[in-house]
């Protein structure tokens, strides 16, 4: 009788998740909790970290089939891996983005390329560590600090690396307010950080309407591999700028963007299961991602300093780091660092120029990478 009772309780216990917990689950639950802590206590990109952190905790509770094939989170992940979600994110981002600062100061678009050295440093280091060239390319693109583009390029080059790459890309994007400022201060003098920038010219409605159409043509013509993302970005922006279809712009940049953000963050968090995520390869990718962000930030600031050697009207080099993309987080970091230095400095509008150019810089780098590796 007693034996039967014990075996019954053991069988019951075996059916609970508790019986299958191991140290890896605890570690990943800790990582998920840390993400939620950073979002809530430190206000680090809560829109990204809350969904990722929560899904990370849930998928590490044994017995939960949410991320298993056919589970709810699995469908969210399919939306990402089938490349449906990233273009929709770009549509929404385009609908809420004012490209005026970039149009108004075309010189600053150079920073969108200059701040992408991190991509190539990470790519070369990944190759040195033994990754294949397509895998190294996918890892390098983390340095573009553009989540949807990182997912897009990874799905084309090394789909099996999507979980660690997307987690690294989004986590570092959220942590940019912590990663970037020390590098920016290290590479600039007090005088440079205090450079006041001239007010930008007013961009006409006609220019704003022509811009997305011209960019969509150029990208589809020269970079077909990354055209879906940039085309949707430009469509969203056209909705915004024509002023005639406010409902579409509001939906794309509001409800739709919120919905796909929920799907995206849950999908990324759901890939953080201890069994698949805790590996040496993940550690290497996460470290390479950090290297990419550090070098990207540094190269952006240095590019701005080099530009100052040739410009009559100097630019504040703190906006250089915004060229890394990650709109608008990187621009906000530039503004905050400058504003802490001198409360009279208001750099956000100026930093948005290179920040937006960074989106194109990542798309261009990704497009060239795919073309050079023969991927369509």
């Amino acid at each position: 009788m007693l034996d039967q009772l014990i075996s019954l309780f053991v069988a019951l216990f075996e059916q609970t998740g508790l019986a299958h917990l191991y140290w890896g689950n605890f570690a990943m639950i800790g990582v998920g909790s840390a993400m939620i802590y950073l979002a809530v206590a430190k206000k680090c990109e809560p829109f990204l970290l809350i969904g990722i952190g929560f899904a990370c905790i849930v998928v590490n509770i044994p017995g939960s089939d949410l991320a298993a094939p056919g589970g709810l989170f699995d469908y969210a992940y399919k939306g990402v891996s089938l490349l449906i979600v990233p273009p929709l994110i770009f549509l929404g981002v385009g609908a809420i983005t004012d490209f005026g600062p970039m149009i108004a100061n075309p010189r600053l678009v150079i920073l969108g390329a200059g701040a992408h050295l991190g991509i190539f440093v990470a790519l070369i280091l990944a190759k040195v560590l033994g990754f294949t060239l397509p895998e190294a390319g996918a890892i390098g693109i983390i340095g573009g600090a553009d989540g949807p583009m990182a997912i897009f390029v990874t799905m084309k080059l090394a789909p099996h690396l999507l979980p660690p790459i997307s987690v690294a890309a989004y986590s570092y994007m959220a942590l940019m307010p912590i990663i970037q400022p020390p590098i920016m201060r290290l590479l600039t003098t007090k005088a440079e950080r205090n450079i006041q920038m001239a007010q930008l010219r007013k961009v006409s409605r006609l220019e704003r309407i022509i811009f997305p159409v011209v960019i969509a043509i150029i990208v589809n013509l020269f970079f077909p591999p990354v055209a879906p993302l940039v085309t949707m970005l430009m469509l969203g922006n056209l909705f915004r700028e024509v002023l005639l279809v406010g409902r579409l712009a509001d939906t794309a940049g509001g409800t739709l963007l919120n919905l796909v953000t929920i799907v995206l963050t849950v999908a990324i968090g759901s890939t953080m299961s201890a069994k698949t995520f805790l590996s040496m390869q993940t550690v290497e990718i996460v470290c390479l991602g950090l290297v990419a962000f550090v070098f990207g930030t540094a190269s952006g600031v240095i590019t701005a300093k080099i530009m100052n050697l040739f410009l009559k009207t100097k630019i504040n080099p703190l906006i250089g780091s915004a060229g890394i993309a990650s709109v608008p987080i990187a621009a906000r970091v530039s503004h905050i660092v400058a504003n802490k230095e001198n409360p009279k400095l208001f750099l956000i509008y100026h930093a948005m120029g290179p920040n937006l150019a960074g989106v194109f810089g990542t798309a261009i780098s990704g497009g060239i990478l795919l073309a050079l590796l023969g991927v369509k």
């Binding site: 190759k127 022509i210 811009f211 011209v214 194109f360």
Partner: protein, 54 residues
């Protein structure tokens, strides 16, 4: 097209080509942006009319 070798030299090669081409192409976009204001000489859009809806 000759495939890029899957080794460290290949990684250097792809990085150098990509980095330089990125500068060239983004500069091209910069040039287009610089000449964009020219359109204002030929046409102006009445924003009030647009905001009025269709």
């Amino acid at each position: 097209m000759t495939p890029i070798p899957d080794n460290v030299e290949g990684a250097f090669l792809i990085s150098i080509i990509d980095f330089i081409l990125s500068f060239v192409i983004i500069s091209g976009i910069g040039v287009i942006l610089a000449i964009l204001p020219v359109v204002n000489r030929y046409w102006a859009i009445d924003e009030k009319d647009l905001k009025g809806g269709h």
